[in-house]
Symmetry: none
Subunit: 227 residues, 4 copies
DNA sequence: AATGAATGAGCATTCATTCAT
DNA sequence: CATGAATGAATGCTCATTCAT
């Protein structure tokens, strides 16, 4: 992140006296932009509104970001970075059965995803994938890639242990993650415009159950849920 | 002078500046618009380009559609109508086991979805759901609703027959359909921008297998695939 | 008028069988155009609407008039011609006192003006006088000119007879006519948008009285009204 | 090369591309708009031209006025306000005879009208009265209303004093003012397009004389002019 | 650093005019 | 003759970007 060094530095220097500082501006802008891009999409979001939401004037945006597109990409990087870091540094508890590890991973992953607000990003990246091809590519590689790798690792270990069925293909991985990915994309729209809004907790539980049931071989130590 | 000869020659070949195609125009426009909206989204698609793609001039668009938004909605209606009709009029073969019916329904449904080009629509509706709230609502109700109903019916019959596990909740239905829905949204982006594009046929097979494995109770007549 | 010969000819030929004929089209168009130009002004009147009001299609307008402007000018000519003819051919009853002649002339002139619908024309010509300078010029010369001449003649005779006060200047003539001219311009707006609409008959009587009182010398044969 | 020298020289002299003139802009715009609306009417005036005349670019107009119509109404308000204020706050010299008061009022009123440039407004309001009905209504009520009231007061006082003839009706008031109103509407067109332009001073004197002669009863203290 | 006035390219929409039928 | 589909220049308005203050 281009500004992280600056931010850290200023935080050290100012200590407890936390006031709105010019060093905080990029974060505030990114935050405002995330909110508006996430709600209205890239084109329909005016820089005027982003500036207003960040409490600064229009021209000031250009002191921190070279263009609307630059801001957009900064938003994505900013949200993706901690997520990528979290995913990459996660260590599964290998003492547990694969089922438990799988459940914990998906549950934890979903929490991370929500907290990182990446569900907002996902929708825009998808929407704008033809206008900003490299963003879609980056998103798929940087954001989705690590999850795939982790999940692949979990399942391959399960295969070795005889707890997981069949072969671990890229397609299967994507299918297992799809219910949560789908929810990420639609949750805002479902909340606001769905005639019969779904219970998100129930949905997530079902999504994880489904993943488990479709790959975990029936065993004795970890009985299938809902059976 | 050779130049004038060339010009005259070309003029002879040019024919009329335009033809009247009153009946064909709306379809051509809708088709062009679907393609461009689907590719670039609503805002980034200029009516100029739609007209050019349809082989007509800008003003002509307004002979058939009152506004850009009107055209947009016509595109959606046009694609959704046959799909809705197809889904509603489908009759499952109730002689078959629930697993077979389920597989056939999902497979058939995906084919219909592809043919109707609704995967293009889905992405725009999702992207613009906050700018055109009623479209998202309509899409969820009119396009997704019928599939949910059909799938719910299939599974409820399976529950009665003792072939399907547990309770058929709205959330479970959505989870079962999510892998295909997710593919619908991402397939264009995956094709163009995915670093390691997936094999769509494999993915769809996995998606259906996953649905089956997660709801069908193990029985004798219909052994679990991939087991 | 360019079409009058044609019209007369066709009328003779067709006799009683009066049907909508192509020869009547110019008149119908002019009539429709007068109504719409008079209501909305030149720019705000669309040729589409004129055609629709005349019961023909848009393209047909161009069979009779070379352009919108041409139609506009035809409308004015069409309305002005009978008025000019009427004014020019009027013979005052020189047996009467100047007051009576003046009253009769103004009363008669106002009736003619109303019947010719020139009050609709006047407003547009005034409004568009900078966009169509020659129209304003023509209007002032052809439409207003003859009235001035007639009125000047009446008053000059009155001066000779010792019935009219002072000198008959161009300015005085215009002032005498102004109240009726003003009413012509505003009557539509006053009817529709005036908070307290005036009584037109009363106004016209006052306008004529005012003219009389301000130029007729008190005499014995024709006592001042309202005195 | 001499060319580059010239260019550099001119660049040095050019100064900044624009200046910020926040406070002056609205007035400049209103002034430019008044001039163009007054000349060409509402529809035929392009915002581009207004901007150019005000020495700014098109987009800047929208920093100060929400729309063309908004600018139009601002122009009218801006011109009408001082006039209304002037009329309302006028105190007649009640020591004078009604004739003198009447003459002074009309003469003063015409000066005010000229200075306020309301004659430009009047023509547009009349021209657009069907496209902007509320403007005509407002104009009649706010701009013409106060004059009618003042003039009515003057004449009623004259009636009480036995200096003014007959009854003071709304219609008579309008007739008395009509010559000046008419001049207001036509003066631009008469100047530019009139074949024999009138002498405005003479016209105004005649208009006032006519008003006086038609309502003031002959008395000893104030002999009728022109008699 | 911050502001916000000013810019101008861009786009949806209108409508007088043309022309294939 | 008549039609009305098609055209394309024109115009109001938007908004990302620049720059004087």
């Amino acid at each position: 992140m281009q500004d992280s060094a600056v931010i850290e530095f200023s935080q050290e220097k100012q200590g407890p006296r936390w006031k709105r500082r010019k060093d905080a501006r990029p974060q505030e802008l990114i935050s405002a932009a995330l909110s508006l891009f996430g709600e209205f999409g890239y084109s329909q979001t005016r820089l005027d509104d982003v500036a207003a939401k960040a409490g600064i004037s229009k021209g000031t945006v250009y002191l921190y970001f070279a263009s609307k597109q630059d801001l957009f990409e900064a938003v994505i990087r900013e949200r993706a970075a901690p997520w990528i870091e979290a995913i990459r540094s996660r260590e599964d508890n290998t003492n547990q059965s694969t089922e438990v590890v799988l459940r914990e991973f998906l549950d934890w992953g979903w929490q991370q995803f929500l907290e990182s607000k990446l569900y907002l990003i996902a929708r825009i990246v998808l929407a704008e994938s033809n206008n900003f091809p490299h963003l879609a590519e980056t998103y798929l590689r940087e954001v989705m890639g690590p999850v795939h790798e982790q999940l692949t690792r979990v399942l391959n270990r399960g295969v070795e242990r005889g707890e997981v069925r069949g072969e671990v293909t890229r397609e299967r991985i994507k299918v297992l993650l799809a219910p949560l990915s789908w929810l990420a994309l639609w949750r805002q729209a479902l909340k606001t415009h769905g005639s019969a809004p779904i219970d998100e907790q129930v949905y997530v539980r079902e999504a994880i159950d489904m993943a488990v049931r479709s790959v975990i071989l029936p065993g004795e130590g970890a009985p299938q849920p809902g059976a």
